[in-house]
C-alpha cells in the first residue's frame, strides 16, 4: 500500500521542473464514453428528447418511401396500360347519351399515320339491359348497351374473366359479352346454366364476361353485342359513337392532334379526343405535391426535435455543473468540456435518426406490402435523414456546450 519506490516521472507527466507544461489532452477514444456518461444516467429524458428527431426523420423517410413506392406502382400501371390509348367521341347530347360520329370515321382514323389499331363502338341509345323482362325499363342500373367488334379486345388489351368474346359468328346472333361492372350489377358471376339477359326487349345469351378494363370504364358498364345483330335488332346505322385508338407510343401527341379532323372532317370541333392515361399521370403529379407537403411537415418536426434536444442539453448542463467543475479541476480544458456536450448531443441526434429511419422503413414496407406495391425506399432519403439528424444533434449541442465550457470552474464546483 505504501509506495516507497515512487517514480517522479509518471506516464504522461513531464519532468518535474523546467521544460514546458504538458497540455491538457483528451483522447478521441475517451470522448465517446465521457459523452455517453450523461446519457446513461438519464435514460427516460434521453428517449423523450430523441423522440422529436425520430418522428421527424421517420415521417420524411416514410413519406418519401411511400410516395416512391406508389409512384412506382402508378408508373408500372401506366407502362402496362400504355399512354398511347386515345378515345374519340362526338360529344354527348342532353340526356348524356353519346352522339354518333360519321360512318366513315373508323376508316379515316384507321388510315391516319401513326395509328396502330382502331376499335369502333356504338352506344345504342334507348336500349337497356336487364336481368329479366319483369324489371321496369327505367331501372337501367347505369348500364348501357354497346355494339362492338373483335377489334375492341385487342385495342384495349382486354381479358376475359369467363367465356369467349364476340366473333364473326356470334356477332350475328342474340349473344352478348358483359363488362365487369355490368355482370356484377346483373348478378351474373359465371356462365353456368347459360344465363340470359333481357336486352332491348329480347333475350340475349351471355357468352362472356370481361375483366375490368382500367382505361375504359364505360366498357365495364356495358353489355356488348355484335354490329350485325345491332343493325338487325336496333337499326344500327354504321355510325360509331366512341372510337378507341391505339397509336404508336412516340407519335401519340401527333395523332392526338389530328384525330378530330380525321373522325369528323366537317365539324372537327364537335369531336372530343382524350387520353385516359392522363388521369394516372395527374395522380403522379398529385403524389409529388403531397410529398412536398409531408416532407415539409417532417422538416417542422425535425426543427422541433432539434429545439427539444437543445433544451434538454441546456438543462443537462445546468444539472451537471458540479461534474463540469470536477472535470475542469481534473484538468479538462474548455474545449474538452464543449466537445463532451456536443458529442453527447450528436449521439442523441444520431440515435433519434437511426430510430427514425428504422420506423420510416418499417412503415413504408408495411404500407407497400399492404397495398401490393413494390417496396422502394430511396437510399438518398435514408442517408439524408440520418445525416440531417446528426447535423441537428451537433447544432443543438453547440449553445449548451459553449455555456458549459464558459462556466468558471470555481462557480461550477460551488453549486452542487
Amino acid at each position: 500500500m505504501t509506495a516507497t519506490d515512487r517514480p517522479r516521472t509518471f506516464p504522461g507527466t513531464p519532468a518535474t521542473s523546467g521544460s514546458d507544461i504538458g497540455l491538457s489532452r483528451l483522447r478521441a477514444a475517451d470522448l465517446i464514453p465521457v459523452a455517453t456518461g450523461g446519457l446513461r444516467t438519464r435514460r427516460v429524458r434521453v428517449l423523450l428528447s430523441m423522440l422529436g428527431i425520430a418522428i421527424g426523420i421517420s415521417a420524411v423517410v416514410a413519406v418519401l418511401g411511400i410516395t416512391r413506392s406508389s409512384q412506382a406502382d402508378l408508373l408500372a400501371r401506366l407502362d402496362r396500360l400504355g399512354t398511347n390509348l386515345l378515345t374519340v367521341v362526338n360529344g354527348s347530347n342532353l340526356s348524356d347519351a353519346e352522339v354518333p360520329l360519321p360512318a366513315t370515321a373508323t376508316t379515316t382514323i384507321g388510315h391516319t399515320e401513326g395509328v396502330e389499331a382502331v376499335a369502333p363502338t356504338a352506344e345504342l341509345a334507348g336500349v337497356g339491359v336487364y336481368r329479366s323482362d319483369k324489371i321496369p325499363p327505367q331501372i337501367t342500373g347505369g348500364l348501357s348497351v354497346r355494339a362492338a367488334d373483335s377489334s375492341l379486345v385487342s385495342t384495349l388489351g382486354a381479358d376475359m374473366l369467363a367465356g369467349t368474346y364476340l366473333n364473326e359468328a356470334t356477332s350475328r346472333y342474340p349473344t352478348t359479352v358483359l363488362g365487369h361492372t355490368a355482370a356484377e350489377t346483373l348478378g351474373i358471376t359465371d356462365l353456368s346454366g347459360a344465363p340470359r339477359v333481357w336486352l332491348g326487349g329480347r333475350w340475349y345469351t351471355v357468352i362472356g364476361i370481361l375483366r375490368p378494363i382500367e382505361l375504359a370504364s364505360e366498357i365495364n358498364r356495358s353489355a356488348l353485342i355484335g354490329f350485325p345483330v345491332a343493325a338487325r335488332d336496333f337499326a344500327y346505322n354504321d355510325r360509331p359513337s366512341r372510337i378507341y385508338v391505339r397509336s404508336q407510343t412516340e407519335r401519340t401527341l401527333e395523332v392526338f392532334e389530328v384525330l378530330a379532323r380525321a373522325a369528323n372532317p366537317k365539324n372537327p370541333n364537335e369531336v372530343a379526343v382524350s387520353r385516359p392515361s392522363d388521369v394516372l399521370t395527374a395522380r403522379l403529379e398529385v403524389a409529388n405535391a403531397t410529398t412536398t407537403m409531408f416532407v415539409g411537415l417532417g422538416a417542422v418536426a425535425l426543427l422541433v426535435g432539434g429545439i427539444g434536444i437543445a433544451n434538454v442539453m441546456v438543462i443537462s448542463v445546468l444539472e451537471r455543473r458540479s461534474e463540469i467543475g470536477l472535470r475542469r479541476a481534473l484538468g479538462a480544458a474548455r474545449r474538452h468540456v464543449a466537445a463532451q456536450f456536443v458529442v453527447e448531443s450528436f449521439l442523441l441526434g444520431t440515435a433519434g435518426g437511426v430510430a427514425g429511419v428504422l420506423v420510416g422503413v418499417t412503415v413504408t414496407y408495411g404500407m407497400a406490402v399492404h397495398l401490393g406495391w413494390q417496396v422502394i425506399i430511396p437510399p438518398a432519403a435514408m442517408s439524408a435523414g440520418l445525416g440531417t439528424a446528426m447535423a441537428i444533434g451537433v447544432l443543438s449541442g453547440i449553445y449548451p456546450a459553449l455555456r458549459a465550457a464558459s462556466m468558471p470552474p470555481t462557480q461550477a464546483l460551488r453549486t452542487s
Binding site: G12, S17, S322, L330
Partner: protein, 228 residues
C-alpha cells in the same frame, strides 16, 4: 528543498460597490514534501487562495508559480494542462461520478493526460490499494460510505502522482471517525513524499499539519513556519 508552490502578493477582488477584496496581498511558499494546513474562519479567503493556487481561478493581481511555472498568462489549455499533469484536488463534497465504479472514478484523474484506458485503470487500481480500498474497486459511489467516497476522491487526486495535492475541507462532510481516517490517510501520503495543501477550520486538521497558515479577512495573520 525545492519550492513547489509560490504565491506572491496575490489579490482577488470581486467587482461590486464597494468591491469585495477576498484576498489581500497574500504571499507564501510551499516546499516539496510539506503538509500545509490553511486555517481560518469562513470568509477569510482560504478557499479563494486554494482555487487560485490550484489554477481554478486567476488572481486579480500578483503571481502564482506552480512547480516552477508561472500560472498567469497561460492559455486555458495550458493552465488546464498544469492541473492535469501537476495537481490533484480533493473536495469537501467528494464529487464522484455516480455512473462510474470507484476504479473508473479514480481513473478519471488521468483522463485529461491522454493516457490509454488500460494504463489509467492499472494506475487507478494501484492508487485504490494505496488508500486501502482495493477491495471496493467495482463498487459505485452510492454503495460506499462517506469516508470511503472521500478515500476514492483522494485516490483520484494522487493517481497521477502530482507534485501538489489540494484538499478543500476534506473532512467537512464526514463524521469524526471517518474524518480522522481521511486525515490519517493524507498524513500517510505526505509521509510518502506527497506535497499537500489542506484547507480546514477544524483544530484537529490544523494540528495534523506540520505547518499551518492562519488567515483572516483575506490576509495571512500567522504562518507557523515563519514564526517558528
Amino acid at each position: 528543498m525545492s519550492v513547489v508552490l509560490e504565491v506572491r502578493d496575490a489579490w482577488k477582488v470581486y467587482p461590486g460597490n464597494p468591491p469585495v477584496e477576498s484576498v489581500r496581498g497574500v504571499s507564501f511558499t510551499v516546499e516539496r514534501g510539506e503538509l500545509v494546513a490553511i486555517v481560518g474562519p469562513s470568509g477569510s479567503g482560504k478557499t479563494t487562495i486554494l482555487n487560485m493556487a490550484a489554477g481554478l481561478d486567476r488572481p486579480t493581481s500578483g503571481s502564482i508559480r506552480i512547480a516552477g511555472r508561472a500560472a498567469h498568462g497561460l492559455s486555458d489549455r495550458r493552465l488546464s494542462g498544469l492541473r492535469a499533469h501537476h495537481m490533484g484536488v480533493v473536495f469537501q463534497r467528494f464529487h464522484l461520478l455516480d455512473h462510474l465504479s470507484a476504479l473508473d472514478n479514480v481513473a478519471t484523474g488521468l483522463l485529461y493526460r491522454a493516457i490509454p484506458g488500460g494504463r489509467r485503470r492499472a494506475a487507478a487500481a494501484e492508487a485504490l490499494e494505496r488508500v486501502g480500498l482495493g477491495h471496493r474497486a467495482h463498487h459505485r459511489p452510492h454503495e460506499l460510505s462517506g469516508g470511503e467516497q472521500q478515500r476514492v476522491a483522494i485516490a483520484r487526486a494522487v493517481v497521477g502522482r502530482p507534485e501538489l495535492v489540494f484538499a478543500d475541507e476534506p473532512t467537512g462532510n464526514l463524521d469524526t471517525g471517518s474524518g480522522a481516517g481521511v486525515l490519517a490517510l493524507l498524513d500517510e501520503l505526505n509521509g510518502d513524499g506527497t506535497t499537500i495543501v489542506v484547507i480546514t477550520h477544524s483544530e484537529e486538521v490544523a494540528r495534523a499539519g506540520r505547518r499551518h497558515i492562519e488567515m483572516r479577512d483575506g490576509q495571512i495573520v500567522h504562518d507557523s513556519r515563519s514564526s517558528g
